[in-house]
Amino acid sequence: MQYLSEGNGRTMRITTGEFCRKCGAAIPPNSPQQSCGACLLETGLGPVEPEPEVNVDLGSSPMLMDFGDYELLEQIGRGGQGVVFRARQKSLNRIVAVKVIGLGHWATEAHLKRFRLEAEAAARLEHTGIVPIHEVGERDGSCYFSMKFVEGGQLDEVVRRKPMSIRQAAELIGKVARIVHYAHEHRILHRDIKPGNILLDAKGEPHLTDFGLARLVESESTVTRTMEVLGTPSYMAPEQAVGNNAAVSNATDVYGLGAVLYQLLTGHPPFAGGTTYETIKLLEDTEPRPPRLLNPKVDRDLSTICLKCLEKDPKRRYSSALALIEDLKHWLNHEPIQARHTGIFARGRKWVQRNPTSAVLAASLMALAAAAGWIVWKSEFIARPLANGIAVLPFENLSDDKSDASFVDGMQDDVLTKLARIADLKVISRTSVMDYRGKRNLRQIGNDLRVSHVLEGSVRRAGTHLRLNAQLIDTRTDTHVWAEQYDRDLNDLFAIQSEIAQKIAQRLNAKVTSAEKLAIEGKPTTDLVAFELYSRSLSLKKIPRASSADSARQAIDLLNQAVARDPSFFEAYCELAVHHDQLYFFGYDHTPGRLAAAEAAIQEAFRIRPNAGEAHWSRAYHLYNGYLDYEGALAELEVARQTLPNDPRIFRVTGFIQRRQGRWEESTRNLERALELDPRNVATLDNIGDSYAALRRYAEQESKLDRILAIEPNDIEVKAKRAGVELNWKADTRPLHQLIDEIRATNPAAMPKIVPLRLLCALVERDAAAAREALTASDESPFGADAVHFTRPFVEGVIARMTNDEQKAQLAFTAARAEQEKIVQAEPDYGPALCVLGVIDAALGRKDEALREGRRAVELLPVEKDSFNGALMIHYLAMIAAWVGEKDLAFEQLALSARTPNGATYGELELDPFWDPLRGDPRFEKIVASLAPR
């Protein structure tokens, strides 16, 4: 016992006398487990990793070959739940299959018992299509069961080798449905139908395994359900995913059949997010894309059958497997089917809302959904394993000449780029590592970026002599794995870098293909001045948001100088093309000249290295930004991805394109992948947030913005954006207003940065003075969303109208019109420019012109062509119509806008004075109500 004596004669017992042997702190008497609380919590902070591989190297480890009564012969499969072996049952001397399940936590006796019951019930079924289970048990901490060995393969693997025709797919599902129906007739549910559980024998006949296995991990408390145990949720029915075990029924198995059919028809499961959480959110919130859209060869009827199985509400699916079999038979015989086609908009509503309930039940269901959502959030932490991931930290510049800084950064970039070519490695992208310049806590960095290793380096350049120190460190243990010092001539620069990259690859046991090796050994350029110029252009991208016009122009200038010096500097051309394309796409220089400059740079790139990934990447970006040629760009991106497996830009741009095409789920998946490779990339986070905003999933947008603020806590624009979300979502201006007041008081220099949001705030609060104040604070750059830009004179006109100064308003709008007309003349087929002209004309009362322009803008840029800007065209047409008094048209377009992603928001309609002409009309109120937060 330790005592502390005080002056007044009292003593106080403060510890048990125990000290933590790890950190040395005293352990107080009421500590949990009599252990050091702080160390316990630190253990708790570690990553939640999946089970370490059950290492079955049968050659070396006799202990593992022997599994009780079974001799494990070879591993024949693995899934989310466990590993399957071909084995010999010693006691009966027969060949069986043994599945060993790795559970995330102990299965209790109750679980095992329930599974045994289920397995035994299934064992009583006798059907050639059901793989019988022999024994269920637990051994050495793992659950296992043995079953009949079926010579053949899992459905997904077989199909990968030999794709099946649509007809064959329908026939196969019919057969599986017959097996399922037989089980249902004996009152047994499968509960986990997916391609991994369907085996095909040599004759192609299906056999269904793992009956009732889902029971093993089911429990009354959804808390103990972890998604990793059940494997992928991509084929899971919604009632299972939310843990509503009471609602699991025959229809749940029908869903599974539909999901497998979907997979066979389209090559994808109906829902697949980047993480388990994403998948379940998609499952809850979205409808599956009709198979016909993914595979045009699938006809409407079969598509309908498939979708009927996938209805969120079990009552709307086929009532039994038999009903499904019947409709499939009709289809196979070219007869009409029973299922009814539904229109696009009929399927939109969340299934929970089909059952209007008392307030209490509704609240419980919402809480239930929230709970389900939370449970799966956990899986975000069970992301990918840390092994084989590396971050190349910024190199330290030890040269006397501090202007070498960008040169040193260029070196780091080169090593990073070389490593990133290796598909077998996960390499974190540059944007995310730059923040860690000079930071020492490697374990933290490893955790933040989810990598097992970092490369640190320092460079000292003196004249033509270069000294480079590089070390590879394991972040988990903070130990050096490799270190080397290079004392070379400057001209050997690139040789050093490729050597480092290859050594690291070796140390991390990464497979390097010969193609990758060639790519790594390539030199960017032999001209060091050119390399310096190139490095400087890269450092301009330090501002992580989409490059502003100025920095793009500067970069172009530097890069032009670089290629002037070295006309075969491949990377420089690729960068040039990107900058040109960005100036074009974001409307800063939307001219043919700019497009041509990009094209020229790309041609050069292809001339120098015709097969390089970056050239294809540049072309992809060009096709997208220059021509909105989505398919062309996606094709190029696919090629680029083969040689640039770690390049987040590819996933990012794929995501951008897909969402412009309206393929929101796939887009988000790709954006999330880009984020994984580049976790601190604020631009990606912001963009994913924008996707959510367009989909009106505001809570998720806020969470992404919060992540940005965690990385950059002082980013005023992001704070303002976040405050703006509350406005859009709930028509609540207070957060925005408070933020503006706060900035005005504490950081007035930052007021110009948030002018667009200040203006919005002033408009919705109908405060003309504040609006004017905002306008004076701004620079000349226009306001607007995406490619729709409104200029100063237009806003001046709006403010004048707010104060009923009609004369001033006319003057301002006329000036705005003159400006805009010039822009339209230069690009007469550019929807966004025409749309703005239409709005101005509406403000001026020129009804016919305004309507013509608004309609034409919608024609020129429909939603199918560009989901973001297309929605805006519709939205502004509604506004034009409202202003000129064409109410029917206005309501028609506004209703459409309210249903379209990136269209009208609740806050805007509730508060924005632009919609005043429609207020009071019941049609308007109805639309507003449809957008109100629930």
Binding site: E6, M12, R13, I14, C20, R21, K22, C23, A25, P29, N30, S31, P32, Q33, S35, C36, G37, A38, C39, L40, L41, E42, T43, G44, G46, P47, V48, E49, E51, P52, M63, G104, H105, W106, A107, T108, E109, A110, D140, G141, S142, S221, T226, N244, V360, S364, A367, L368, A370, A371, A372, W374, I375, K378, E380, F381, S703, D706, R707, A710
Partner: protein, 255 residues
């Protein structure tokens, strides 16, 4: 549904909340934050949270120098006030964390409301929150000359409450499993102290292979991490805050 010894009110009072899932949903701080106006689910959630985290509150009150009986009354009075005040609007302004919300409210309460003697009996004498398990050990911590500040003490007790909950849940999960004694032993390895019995020793003790022990411990540690995160999640608004909250608690324990 696992039996919660503190569970006084029956869940069926809130209507047809599905068993199990409802239990979980009602202990989630973000449910409280989400609530717009009256919500029985939010009310239940807040009550359950208060039942769990009363110790740091009681500790703080005692630290102010009040005697045990008076401190108990004040604690009950404080919670009664919190639970009566259905104004979750103001709750939501307090960004994110239950821990800070309760502390801030408590300080306000101690400064202002405690003077009003009526407050102390506000609960109507009803024991809203069972204050079980106050031992004489606690008394020493509360002596004023103890070097730890009241805030720090509060945070440390909060951290201990979290850990206690996690270990209770771990124990409940393994209850009935044949492996319960093994898991009890493995629990002692969780703080990573190098001197504790090694996995090899435990393997010998239980007659299992070292590989099996390694697997078992790995699984236990993963489960521990999951439960710890869950427990912290109950008290913060978004999953993004969990790590930060854990680090805060670690800092408090290391001060």
């Amino acid at each position: 549904m696992r039996a919660d010894p503190d569970d006084v009110t029956s869940l069926s009072a809130t209507g047809s909340v599905p068993a199990g899932a409802g239990m979980f949903a009602t202990t989630h701080w973000s449910v409280v934050l989400e609530a717009q106006g009256e919500s029985s689910a939010a009310q239940q959630a807040l009550e359950n949270l208060c039942r769990t985290y009363w110790r740091p509150i009681y500790g703080f009150v005692r630290r102010e120098g009040t005697k045990p009986e008076e401190a108990k009354d004040l604690t009950q009075g404080f919670f009664a006030l919190i639970l009566e005040r259905k104004d979750f609007q103001s709750v939501r302004q307090e960004k994110g964390r239950l821990r800070s919300f309760l502390l801030a409210s408590l300080k306000h309460f101690m400064a202002n409301e405690r003077r009003d003697a009526a407050t102390i009996k506000r609960g109507g004498g009803r024991t809203l929150i069972p204050l079980d398990g106050i031992t004489s050990d606690d008394s020493d911590e509360f002596h004023r000359s103890n070097m730890l500040s009241a805030d720090l003490l509060y945070d440390r007790r909060w951290a201990f409450t979290v850990l206690d909950r996690v270990f209770t849940r771990l124990r409940e999960e393994s209850h009935g499993s044949a492996n319960a004694p093994l898991l009890e032993r493995l629990n002692t390895l969780l703080s990573d102290e190098p001197d504790r019995p090694s996995q090899a020793e435990i393997a010998r003790e239980f007659g299992m292979t070292e590989n099996a022990i390694k697997q078992a411990f790995h699984r236990l540690r993963q489960r521990y991490r999951q439960l710890l995160r869950e427990e912290v999640a109950h008290t913060v608004a978004t999953p993004a805050e969990i790590e930060d909250e854990l680090r805060h608690l670690i800092t408090a324990l290391r001060s």
